[in-house]
């Protein structure tokens, strides 16, 4: 057998033969299916007409994150349609209202390296940071998956990306995700896998990796997988130790540690020295214009959004709080903070991050998708400029088609909240005396999150 990429190795360990003679598509059994209130609701009527049961409810990883809680009567009806389905099909309900499905996935013991994960949402790719094959799909694919336990997939070729150097204090996963998209192009990885090799000095924090895997789809990639390493091992050890309480329930959710072969074939190889990447920003309207923040004229900002599955983790809220400590949000700016999960929410409540943010004048919402998908709690109006830590800046994405969304790292976003302008955040970070952020994002407190699932 020829040498395999990590994606080939994961998929070909389970896929057997093509679905039709001459086809490059295989029936692939799925370990976990991610779903949420919006996109699962779209298939409920069709599912009911077929009149069958979900193939394996325990393999359904279903959250309520889009309309959570609902902001219109119609969305309440959509949510209730979804909740009815969850109950009827005996799908576990422990994830409802716990945060954004993708964040819950990486926090949860059910998600293990080597798995094949398909989800009814494009950002399902985020679980690739745990060494999984994870990809997003539409409701019809998920309808078939819920009935059969399988999806029909081709095996993508891979682009290999090596990350080297020592991560500067002011550089975040978001900057690296933007740099990767800048180099590959929006849609430059269509139908391909991105395979990340983290060769940096101490390894990127998992939170940064989540953002990089998350935004793989913005380059058009089918999936974005990190090669498992010690950083992942440590993360899982800490995570699964904590969640031991539910261990008895989840037999069969085992990890398989797979690695790409030496000499595997890549369509392209890129190497990025993280020390050479400046804070970046994606200009409004898509991911095709990505530039260094220092290269643009300072832009006046009316909203800063720190949230979403790409930028609502403890790391993101911690840097925002550290920059805002003993400061106020600039006049004329609203800072909307939407934690990615209830675990993130709880941790920020416990460790004092919320105290600093609220004291500085930030608006803290419950964990959900919120403003990112133009749903609620921070939509922008015509002519309004928003700096966002989320993953998409498409026209109209966060509200009015005439609003402007700049995507940036949490540090750059926080600096905009402090100054009211989109500028290079490094001088402000220096002024705040923040030097070694990545090793200690926030002083640890003697609090335990045990039992807070």
């Amino acid at each position: 057998m020829t040498q395999q990429t990590l994606t080939e190795k994961i998929l070909l360990s389970k896929a057997t033969e093509p679905i039709l003679p001459g086809s490059e598509y295989y029936r692939v059994p799925v370990d976990l299916v991610l779903g949420h209130d919006a996109t699962i609701a779209l298939l409920v009527e069709r599912f009911k007409k077929i009149g069958r049961k979900v193939w394996n409810p325990e393999r359904c990883f279903f959250a309520a994150d889009h309309f959570a809680p609902p902001s219109t009567p119609e969305r309440a009806d959509i949510l209730n349609c979804y909740l009815g389905f969850v109950t009827e099909q005996s799908v576990p309900q422990d994830l409802l209202y716990r945060g954004i499905s993708h964040q819950l996935m990486v926090e949860d013991q059910r998600c293990q390296p080597g798995m094949i994960i398909c989800g009814a949402d494009s950002h399902t790719v985020m679980a690739g940071a745990l060494g999984c094959f994870a990809t997003g799909m539409g409701s019809t694919d998920i309808l078939a998956l819920l009935l059969t336990g399988e999806v029909i997939l081709s095996i993508p070729e891979s682009i290999r990306i090596d990350l080297t150097g020592k991560l500067p204090s002011w550089l975040f996963g978001k900057d690296l995700a933007l740099e990767i998209i800048r180099l590959i192009g929006e849609g430059g990885a269509l139908d391909q896998a991105l395979e990340y090799h983290d060769l940096t000095e101490s390894g990127l924090p998992m939170e940064s990796r989540f953002t990089i895997s998350n935004m793989s789809v913005e380059a058009g990639a089918t999936n974005g997988v990190f090669v498992p390493d010690q950083v992942l091992k440590r993360y899982l050890h800490e995570r699964d130790g904590r969640a031991a309480k539910i261990a008895s329930r989840i037999d069969g959710f085992d990890s398989v540690w797979l690695y790409p072969d030496e000499g595997a074939n890549y369509t392209r190889r890129l190497s990025i020295n993280v020390e050479e990447v400046p804070p970046l920003v994606a200009l409004p309207g898509g991911l095709s214009q990505i530039v260094a923040v220092s290269e643009i004229e300072p832009v006046g900002v009316q909203q800063v959004f720190v949230g979403s599955c790409a930028g609502g983790r403890v790391e993101d809220l911690a840097i925002t709080a550290r920059l805002l400590k003993n400061r106020r949000v600039a006049p004329g700016v609203k800072l909307v903070i939407t934690p990615a999960s209830q675990r993130v929410y709880y941790e920020c409540l416990q460790n004092g991050i919320f105290q600093v943010l609220a004291g500085a004048g930030a608006l803290i919402t419950n964990s959900s998708c919120g403003a990112c998908g133009g749903i609620d709690k921070g939509l922008i109006g015509s002519g309004e400029v928003c700096v966002s830590t989320s993953n998409r800046n498409f026209r109209g994405r966060m509200g009015s088609p005439d609003g402007l969304i700049y995507l940036a790292s949490p540090l750059t976003a926080a600096a905009a909240a402090v100054t009211g302008r989109l500028t290079d955040p490094r001088p402000l970070m220096e002024e705040a005396g923040i030097r070694d952020f990545h090793s200690t994002p926030w002083p640890k407190q003697a609090s335990s999150l045990g039992g807070q699932r």
Binding site: S139, E186, L190, G396, P401
Partner: protein, 164 residues
């Protein structure tokens, strides 16, 4: 299989948020239909007009972004007959084909003909015929799986399930 229609020309990197903004996300067909092209600059009026028999002719990375299938459904509800693009985002092309709508890539597509030009898509010989400009362009042959899905009228009928 021959498909005939008239062109509706769109550009590169046309994403799902402009094709179908999230404020039109709904379980109601009328609302889903009403959202078609409603954040695509300059296309809002066109989106509201009668589009039956139209074939979308687009550039690279068409349909990038979200997996929300309301976007794909809006194409069907609007009466779009097929999508031809230089290249297409993976989730989007799956979504439309899964609903039975032919979506094919034409890497050689460069200068699109004016809106409303007659088009013929030949899915037997894998070519796009544009009589107005005397062009015959090769289409990327679909995998036998997708050919079978489109022939069956979508993924569910292909798999032997009754749908709708």
């Amino acid at each position: 299989m021959m498909i005939k229609g008239t062109s509706l020309v769109m550009g590169d990197n046309v994403n799902t948020d402009v094709l179908h903004p999230s404020r039109f996300f709904s379980l109601e067909s009328n609302k889903v239909r009403a959202g078609f092209l409603q954040a695509a600059s300059g296309y809002e009026q066109i989106g509201n007009s009668d589009l039956s028999g139209k074939i979308i002719l687009a550039g690279d990375n068409f349909g990038c972004g979200s997996s929300r299938e309301t976007g794909a459904r809006a194409f069907l509800l609007a009466g779009i007959r097929a999508v031809v693009a230089r290249s297409m985002a993976r989730i989007f092309s799956r979504n439309v084909r899964n609903l039975g709508l032919p979506a094919v890539e034409c890497p050689a597509l460069s200068d699109s003909p004016p809106d409303g030009s007659e088009l013929e898509i030949d899915l037997g010989r894998w070519r796009l015929i544009i009589p107005a400009t005397n062009q015959v362009l090769p289409l990327t042959r679909l995998d036998p799986f997708w050919e079978a899905v489109i022939k069956a009228g979508g993924l569910m009928p292909f798999l032997g399930f009754k749908d709708g």
